[in-house]
Symmetry: C2
Subunit: 262 residues, 2 copies
Amino acid sequence: MSKLVIVKIGGYILDNDDDLQNVIRSFVTIKEPKILVHGGGKVASETAKKFGIIPRVIQGRRITDAETLKIVQMVYAGLLNKNIVLKLQSLNCNAIGMSGVDANCILAHKREIIDIDYGYVGDIEQVNADILKSLLNLQLTPVLCALTHDGNTHMLNTNADTIAAEVAGSMSIFFDVELIYCIDKEGVLRSKEKIDTVISKITRKSYQEYIRTRIISDGMIPKLHNAFRALDRGVKQIHIIHFNALERFNTNEMAGTTITER
Amino acid sequence: MSKLVIVKIGGYILDNDDDLQNVIRSFVTIKEPKILVHGGGKVASETAKKFGIIPRVIQGRRITDAETLKIVQMVYAGLLNKNIVLKLQSLNCNAIGMSGVDANCILAHKREIIDIDYGYVGDIEQVNADILKSLLNLQLTPVLCALTHDGNTHMLNTNADTIAAEVAGSMSIFFDVELIYCIDKEGVLRSKEKIDTVISKITRKSYQEYIRTRIISDGMIPKLHNAFRALDRGVKQIHIIHFNALERFNTNEMAGTTITER
């Protein structure tokens, strides 16, 4: 099978234009077919504020009421997604910006209310791998924002890490997929704030141990959960790297943390 | 050649959800490959106001400074374009929302300053008919908003009537194109506000006469200018109809005004 590279960039990268420009320049040098997935960033919260909406976040997840969803849709699908596509096109990468509703590429359902009503937040049901493959066959580079849809006129806010993992998993039936999470640290760190404590390899077994000993905690847990889920679904390589390290992609000297079965 | 239907809907249709729903339901019944082009609507001005931006319009064209462009990009590409795609997808029409930068489908240049600096307003250079055809071949229905790009990281605000005409013209090398402008009147009217004065046919010759006698004026002139330009470029049929009349598309009883060579 031929290779597909899926790169996910965090929202904070989008908050700084120089950082974004660097990451995009690195992304463009990837010769293989590729997909970019991006999160939100501060601009969503800032825009919401201008509309008099106070952002609410519970357990790291934004609570998305109908008004917030409108803002998120404007900022993610309109402002940020297109800004990335504009930059990619200027570097001759034939990008096509998409949310989950476009070409029905990511179908989801509204998260059921158990303890918390997250509002218009979607849990992915199905990634339309066929259409993404067809777009790649046209030499296009899909750029996916953190929005899915329910097939019934509702956009749903969906975590970009999860989208990257689910897309990677679904595309594994067609490609040898390499999934790269670009974050603002050097990788998964043994000790927070100490960049020389990068864990170079995390296996399923060591992951459990790191959780038990609280070396891995907070936001890194769902990210790694997504990574292992992608591994389950046949993704060949998974890396968590500093976004500046993406420029070394073609050297095969992948820094950061590699997620692997054993 | 097989047929392609291109429907352009005005921004005012997007201001009323019932109207939009009706138009979209009619659009979905069109069996041929199709493309939808949409304008802006009041929501762009309203959103700009929330950001403290006062909209400026000269000769029917919005002046687009950098801040206004951000709003326009959010509203056109994020809010409106995706709302339309959401509705189409819920009716099993496999729509893909696009601005001119996506798949590099519409390249433009910033309008030169002669008397007025329109700001980030684009005049179309090239429609990428190949990629639109490829997307249609995948059974996708492109939904184009009123944004083009300059290939150098700038989005440009571009009149949706012009986009519809240029896309129609460019697609004429592959298809027998039918271009339909949906407006909020019954067609081109001989006497404003009197719906029983629809001019059923306008030829190039009668068009000049209508302008001379000021029967056709204001916003209808650029629309007809676009229509005749599309005709020049090989578009087979051009209609200007009331948006509610789109539901009669399949009956071949096209109401409204037909634009034709003679």
